[in-house]
Symmetry: C2
Amino acid sequence: MEPLSYILALDYGGTKHTAALIVPGQNTWLAHGRVVSPPGADAAYDQTTMVRLAHELLSQNPGRLAAIGVSFGGPVDATRGVVRLSHHVPGWEECPLAARLYAEFGAPVAIENDANAAALGEWTYGAGRWCASMLYVTVSTGIGGGWVLDGHIWNGADGMAGELGHNVMRPGGAMCVCGKAGCLEAEASGWGIAAKARAWLTDERWPAADRDGLLAQAGGRAEAITAQLVAAAAAAGNTLARAVLDDAAEVLGAGLGAAINLMNPERVVLGGGVTKSGDRWWQIVRETARRHALPQTRVEIVPATLGDDAPVWGAMALAQVLL
Amino acid sequence: MEPLSYILALDYGGTKHTAALIVPGQNTWLAHGRVVSPPGADAAYDQTTMVRLAHELLSQNPGRLAAIGVSFGGPVDATRGVVRLSHHVPGWEECPLAARLYAEFGAPVAIENDANAAALGEWTYGAGRWCASMLYVTVSTGIGGGWVLDGHIWNGADGMAGELGHNVMRPGGAMCVCGKAGCLEAEASGWGIAAKARAWLTDERWPAADRDGLLAQAGGRAEAITAQLVAAAAAAGNTLARAVLDDAAEVLGAGLGAAINLMNPERVVLGGGVTKSGDRWWQIVRETARRHALPQTRVEIVPATLGDDAPVWGAMALAQVLL
């Protein structure tokens, strides 16, 4: 009798690593493991950890490893199978990850950055199924995205396609980490929302009760304000929090409308923590995108369905192509 | 001896129509004809005119018509071969142009809107050759664009891809024909430049001599100011004209930078009358795009080389695929 064949899907996140074992054609994880990175972890730690995790899964499930799919939390050169760098973890510069995994496990390896992998995951198994073209946008601490066009990840000439987070939506607006002002990310991401709420705490346009209330919910420490806290306060009727969240939703909607005009995708899928900010946020995002997009374009903006696992599912889809 | 085979390339413009006859594989026009539309021309006039023009070319050059490529100045449904409408000429609504041309000439027909056709033309025969991905933008009276990705026109889900002209670059900015404010087209197109120059004529930030001078060059009639006139005045040192043109170039650069972040094309090709505004305009467009695009993306912005003939060349490329 032939041994079972497996796909190994690996997600190298900034703070946690996931490995999953899948039987091709069966769209469930047979087994998986997760490891949270300790503070100060470097590329060597990440690689050793992931290899050990994978060997554990494989030794507990005897069979033949047919292919490996990898999602990496940072820019990669997908063609060469090389990690360019990690913005969070030192030591990843120009790491030939695909070659190392091949040497370790003897199976072919496909690799993508996490935004593209998540896009492919949602397209293959989640909210983007049956679409000819899809823009996936993660609205989390930062804002990034990925394209699936005609069933393939669109990488762009330098592997950078989908990076709408640093498009200037509001010239002269909030300062961004990239050095520009008014970027989509600075105005609408998790950190952007928190920063705006902090800045507006001293703005007398809003009732003192709401300003004091928001600060109190952060334990009196402005720096402890998060997007999640702003969303909760907005839902509870805090006018300052609501204005911050509405503003963020509007800028995001404008950004998506612009992307729709440019590429006219069949569907836009939104993932990431900020998308859990409630119905009002979704409504404003959709209405603003519709207003900014040309009337002849469809505007179909839906929530991602795979959550934090989207990159793992995407790694699985990447590996399927190698079979 | 076999008769010569021909491709017929047709460009239905808003104000003029071009037909060209080409021998497949020979990248020159064997014969061509042009007709300028009289004021008040409608779809029936345009169609009769073009059919007559084509029959003339064919009767003067005996042979076999192998395929027809069509560029149309307005939205089309390329899949069904149907013109949706013309924004300039009445009577084109839902016109089955491909089917009519097939019935008339007995050869297979491929059809595209003029922005996509021009993009394909530049990609196949002009400034976009040897590119895996290209954004073509025409900066003329209006601003429109088209994508060629992996050698194919990217139409989008509703045939609207490339319509970056109505992306809001400057919230609260100049009013656009589309009803929004601060669109790329309102800030950077030919009519946008002319409108801005008119609006700034009464702005005392610029020396009275330059304001009066610009008005004098338009024969004392503000409504006679054109983008071409503004560019000429800017080149001659008029500070108001220069500021208008610089501002337009900057907004365009920001729009291109945003498109580059989103899709990371290998090259951006700019056509249209406004691109003849001089070196300073090009320099500002390129520098601003570079500043807005992420550092990891290439920013290669070059002039189109086919001029007004780009849609005809694109129609020719469309037809080649049918052979």
